[in-house]
């Protein structure tokens, strides 16, 4: 790790004034250790409300999220900021809406001040959407060029991920994206292998496009890994269908599988039509069963369940997503995208018109009160760390958490979770990641031997704990923010 020099307290992106607590310390005190969970480096005092003053700037981001909102049409479960182009034309490469948007996006990137002079090489870039594969490769290339101009040469082993939908690319376009533009990882939005389910969700592709896309991706050279994305608990999805989807997913041979459980979001077509847990949506027990089936099938096929909804062959984790789960900073560009820079979370406008205005303001350097930025308070930071790390198989690193937020919080957290350790939803692990029995956990909780000596990690069990993650995280929140 490079030793940081104190950054001049210039306004970072987005330019809002920083609170005093971020004041840099003299050089001699500034050793920035990047632990696996970056937390404010100062120690949290032994009280639940009195958080310490963070005295060092947080590390610069080395991840970038780019939002490309275009879709052929809106899927019935989708509530993301997207722009539906309409299914009539099958060729969007010269669509002026795409060109205009990309120009705006480039302006945003250019107008952004880099975090500091010590920008580290960018390690991950993620093109999400929308359907990024609808955007012509040359435009994607221009985005990457602008990033290089702005943030310097990217890391040699940079991960460039792109979400691609079946039916939006042919061999040539894929080769261009991979070979010319430099995409290293593809996230293929298969969602289901059954035509009737795909129709039900309003997807623009069918089973035939799915099979074609899998073949294309598998025969492409130069991809480091690809992910096959599935959705479970779709309306009218049966156990047989889900079993078939999992089987076909495994035989497609991706290095990575994402399994998302359908969330009926407010304002979507599904929300209008259906009630969670009621037909044609599967009952809660059935949808839990789907989750368990995925976990079992994929583990049996050699995938690690490394995050609530992510599975991969060893070494094929999505590095970009790991940035989020480790609560590390990242840039975000484009409509509705979120960024997290130097302890400030910011979400860009979700409507094109307002986004355009935002870019103009950014260029003019007047990002005043209307900006939708929030400094993440220490308490919220602790909540974020818990919420995000518990999504992962690694779990919450108690030593690092204790360093940042203090011993008493860790103790209260263990107390609050004790019944769940007992029921097996939460697993206490030692330094060697061996599970600790409830008896020994209790000893440590009540005995005078200092906590943290043995219990090094707390994670949610797979699949039962993962299935209850909201409930369990809410319990932890009750401790962090009473």
């Amino acid at each position: 790790m490079p030793r940081a020099t104190p950054a001049p307290l210039q306004l970072l992106f987005p330019p809002i004034s920083l609170p005093l607590k971020y004041k840099p310390q003299p050089i001699s005190h500034l050793t920035f250790v990047r632990s696996s969970i970056p937390c404010p480096p100062a120690v949290y005092r032994n009280s639940s409300t009195d958080y310490p003053h963070i005295t060092t700037p947080l590390p610069p981001p080395s991840s970038i999220y780019i939002h490309l909102p275009f879709c052929r049409r809106r899927c019935h479960y989708c509530d993301f900021p997207i722009i539906a182009l309409g299914s009539s034309s099958s060729h969007y490469d010269d669509d002026p809406r795409i060109n205009t948007y990309i120009r705006l996006l480039l302006r945003e990137i250019r107008a952004t001040k880099p975090y500091s002079s010590l920008q580290l090489p960018i390690k991950t870039i993620f093109f999400g959407g929308g359907t990024p594969s609808l955007v012509p490769p040359r435009l994607i290339a221009s985005v990457l060029d602008t990033i290089r101009t702005k943030f310097g040469e990217v890391a040699a082993d940079v991960e460039v991920s792109m979400e691609m939908d079946p039916g939006t690319f042919d061999a040539g376009r894929l080769e261009e994206m991979v070979g010319v533009v430099g995409v290293t990882r593809i996230s293929l939005g298969v969602q289901a292998f059954q035509d009737e389910l795909l129709r039900e969700c309003g997807r623009a592709h069918g089973r035939r496009e799915v099979d074609e896309a899998i073949e294309l991706v598998n025969s492409s050279h130069g991809l480091r890994s690809w992910s096959l994305d599935l959705i479970s608990s779709l309306p009218r999805q049966t156990e047989e269908m889900w079993e078939e989807s999992l089987r076909l997913a495994v035989s497609a041979g991706p290095q990575h599988v994402s399994v998302y459980d359908l969330q009926v979001e407010e304002g979507t077509k599904f929300a209008l039509l259906y009630t969670p847990g009621e037909f044609p949506l599967p009952a809660e027990a059935q949808s839990a069963n789907f989750y368990v089936m995925a976990s079992e099938t994929l583990k049996l096929a050699g995938y690690e369940h490394y995050e609530i909804s992510s599975y991969c062959k060893p070494g094929h984790e999505c590095m970009h997503n790991i940035t989020y789960w480790q609560n590390e900073p990242f840039y975000g560009f484009g409509l509705g995208s979120a960024s997290y820079i130097n302890g400030v979370r910011f979400s860009r406008p979700r409507r094109l018109k307002q986004y355009e205005e935002f870019v103009k303001d950014l260029e003019a350097g007047n990002m005043s009160a209307k900006s939708n930025a929030s400094i993440v308070e220490d308490k919220e930071m602790a909540m974020d760390v818990v919420m995000l790390s518990l999504r992962t198989a690694k779990g919450l690193d108690l030593k690092s958490f204790q360093r940042s937020f203090g011993e008493s919080v860790v103790l209260s957290l263990c107390r609050a979770w004790r019944p769940h350790v007992e029921s097996g939803h939460v697993v206490a692990l030692d330094e060697e990641r061996k599970a600790i029995s409830i008896g020994k956990f209790d000893l440590e909780l009540n005995g005078d031997c200092q906590l943290g000596r043995r219990v090094a990690f707390l994670r949610l069990s797979d699949p039962e704990g993962f299935l209850m993650s909201n409930e369990l995280i809410a319990v932890a929140f009750g401790v962090l923010s009473p």
Binding site: A338, D384, M387, L388, I473, A474, S481
Partner: protein
């Protein structure tokens, strides 16, 4: 045949000369000077304010209450009288001016008696000609009282400060149950009764019918009834002259040492406790040192005055007057309603005071929404300064933590108390199932009075030899076509008919002895619905009756929840147990484990349900790093947990407790 018995008693006293007090007029006049020697600086003091109370010796004072059945127009009539005397401006302020509490305005009912002093000019007798032309020559104290049965305690206290009443009867509805009850309260206190038939503007008004009822039920002379419309103002001009002519002046002695009755008290953030008092004998000035007969404590009167209609300092209060004092009392433990206050230097024979309030229902009050005990404690302490009729003792529940066991005059009173705690003191409360006070007797001869079912051991180790429950005598007045269903209802509620009589050709008065438990919840609603609202109902407490009672426990995952225990009649235990269990099943959310809900009598399970474990609660996608949105979602979930009460390992939403209140109808 109680009503008849009472009526016959009434006949003997009905000829009490309504005007006789006024004939004592002349003999009292010379005493005014004497009174002033008792309170030498009263004149200067009174000059401070615009009001000189010394102009109003007892013979120029009338103290009266307005009493009636619910909604017959007491508060509206009070408005008109306050306007007529210029005490409030016409058309200013809200209707029912004296209903000041938010709960009164929201519910459109009076729950607290309110006093207002008015000044009125009246040519009284011929020899008044010497008076200055236009000066008001009478001081009138009006007390507006609640009509609802729960608050009849307020009525009886108010009557202690009065020599007469306006008995208001709705011209269309006629005499109703609380008319009867309130009539007897006034009658038994030997007060002059002026019947006022109100709402004569209504198309269905039938004053003659009401006059006939007044005659037959109360033996009140139909010619003495006043006919009014508090809405249109019709007939109002006769009200105050009748008050002056027909209600006696207060009988106190101006030259005796001060004796005053503490009528009511409330707490003011700035002034501390404000006491409403009726000066029975003697006089009181600002700065005087007074003592409480009950506690012996001495206080200095720092402010004194009348309610005109707001607090108006006068520097003095003289014999027969009703007003307020501020004396540095800090709590109701000091300001005891019914206490006699006197000059610290003298000793007096205390006034009779009031019967203690009879608490009909008890329930536990606990802090809700994660609020703390201290906040609730503070709120309750403040509110009981304004509502002395609640009894409060601390109690602890394993399910709900530290809280209070409160006794109320009835369920409406309980509701109003909750609402006031929340609206006026910002407290958040959770209440347990209301219960009536039972008595259990054991084989070893010991007896316990049970105000909290949880306190009754489920397996006491000694056998219960007898149990008793409180009963009431209920009066129901209804059109005769509804008699059948009402009799069925009363026998379902384990009632015994005591009386059945026609108050006129088509109207029936029934009296029943009923277990209090049976009428506490839901009886009145049921009665209203089976009689299309035409029945009225009132009750007074009666003696304890032997009964076959059992304690019903609610168990969650095998663990009894003390705050959910109830005592029920053996024959109804099965049904109540089933209903409680069903309600809980509906309101307890699924949790990470299976939950069993059981109702049990001792170790016998009489109803059972299970709530299956929650199977899934996960947000699988955390898209594009929008962490804030997800955090907020989970924070909401956490807030939801705060609104739960944890019993053992089971989280129970507060709504579940509220819902249980509704089941207890047996």
């Amino acid at each position: 045949m109680r009503a008849l018995y009472r009526s016959s008693r009434f006949v003997t006293s009905t000829l009490r000369p309504l005007l006789y007090e006024s004939y004592r007029f002349g003999t009292l006049l010379p005493l005014i000077g004497g009174e002033c020697s008792f309170c030498s600086h009263s004149r200067e003091k009174s000059r401070e304010g615009a009001l000189d109370l010394s102009q109003y010796p007892p013979e120029r004072i009338r103290n009266f209450s307005i009493i009636a059945h619910v909604d017959h127009g007491k508060s509206t009539l009070a408005d008109r009288l306050l306007e007529l005397t210029g005490t409030i401006k016409k058309g200013h302020g809200q209707p029912q001016y004296l209903d000041k509490l938010q709960v009164e305005r929201e519910r459109g009912i009076t729950v607290k008696a309110q006093t207002a002093t008015m000044f009125f000019r009246h040519k009284f007798q011929q020899h008044e000609a010497t008076e200055k032309e236009n000066a008001p020559n009478f001081l009138l104290n009006l007390i507006d009282t609640p009509g609802h049965v729960d608050f009849s305690y307020e009525v009886s206290r108010s009557l202690a400060a009065c020599q007469g009443v306006l008995l208001v009867v709705d011209a269309a509805q006629g005499v109703q149950a609380q008319t009867v009850a309130n009539f007897y309260l006034a009658f038994e206190s030997n007060l002059a009764i002026i019947p006022v038939i109100n709402k004569i503007d209504q198309p269905t008004a039938d004053p003659d019918r009401v006059k006939a009822q007044l005659k037959s039920l109360f033996d009140l002379d139909p010619n003495h009834a006043l006919l009014t419309s508090a809405k249109t103002g019709q007939g109002l001009e006769h009200v105050l002259p009748s008050v002056i002519d027909r209600i006696p002046a207060p009988p106190g002695k101006c030259d005796s040492p001060l004796r005053m009755l503490l009528l009511d008290s409330y707490y003011d953030e700035y002034k501390g406790v404000i006491c409403h008092v009726a000066v029975v004998d003697g006089a009181l000035c600002k700065g005087d040192k007074i003592a409480s007969s009950a506690t012996g404590h001495v206080y200095e009167v720092s402010d004194i005055g009348i309610m005109h209609p707001e607090l108006t300092p006068t520097g003095v209060l003289l014999t027969g007057q009703v007003g307020y004092i501020v004396s540095g009392m800090r709590s109701t433990a000091e300001a005891r309603v019914g206490d006699t206050l006197h000059q610290a230097k003298s000793t007096v024979l205390p006034l009779p005071g009031f019967k203690p309030a009879k608490h009909m229902v008890f329930s536990g009050l606990y802090p809700a929404d994660g609020s703390d005990f201290d906040a609730l404690n503070h709120a309750i302490e403040r509110l009981i300064c304004n509502d002395a009729s609640v009894s409060v003792t601390k109690e602890t529940s394993t399910a709900l933590g530290m809280g209070f066991r409160c006794g109320f005059l009835g369920l409406l009173h309980m509701d109003v108390f909750h609402q006031r705690l929340e609206q006026e003191y910002g407290a958040k409360v959770l209440s347990t199932i209301p219960t009536v006070p039972y008595i259990f007797e054991y084989s070893d001869g010991s007896k316990v009075k049970v105000q909290n079912p949880a306190a009754l051991a489920s397996n006491p180790g000694k056998s219960v030899t007898a149990c008793w429950e409180p009963s009431v005598i209920a009066t129901i007045i209804l059109p005769c076509e509804y008699v059948g269903p009402v009799i069925t209802l009363c026998s379902e509620r384990r009632g015994d008919q005591l009386e059945y009589s026609f108050i006129e050709s088509q109207r029936v008065l029934m009296k029943y002895q009923l277990p209090l438990r049976e009428i506490v919840v839901d009886f009145y609603n049921e009665l209203k619905s089976i009689t299309s609202g035409y029945a009225s109902f009132d009750y007074e407490d009666a003696e304890y009756q032997k009964s076959d009672l059992v304690k019903l426990d609610i168990l969650l995952n095998g663990q009894a929840v003390d705050a959910m225990a109830t005592i029920v009649h053996n024959l109804k235990a099965q049904r109540v147990g089933r209903e409680l269990v069903d309600k809980l099943k509906k309101f307890i959310d699924r949790q990470m484990f299976e939950i069993s809900i059981q109702a049990a009598i001792g170790s016998r399970i009489i109803a059972r349900e299970t709530i299956s474990a929650m199977r899934k609660n996960v947000l699988s996608k955390c898209y594009g790093g929008d962490v804030t949105r997800k955090r907020k979602l989970l924070e909401k979930q956490k807030e939801g947990k705060k609104r739960m009460k944890r019993v053992g390992s089971v989280d129970i939403p507060q709504e579940a407790f509220h819902e249980l209140l509704k089941v207890s109808k047996e």
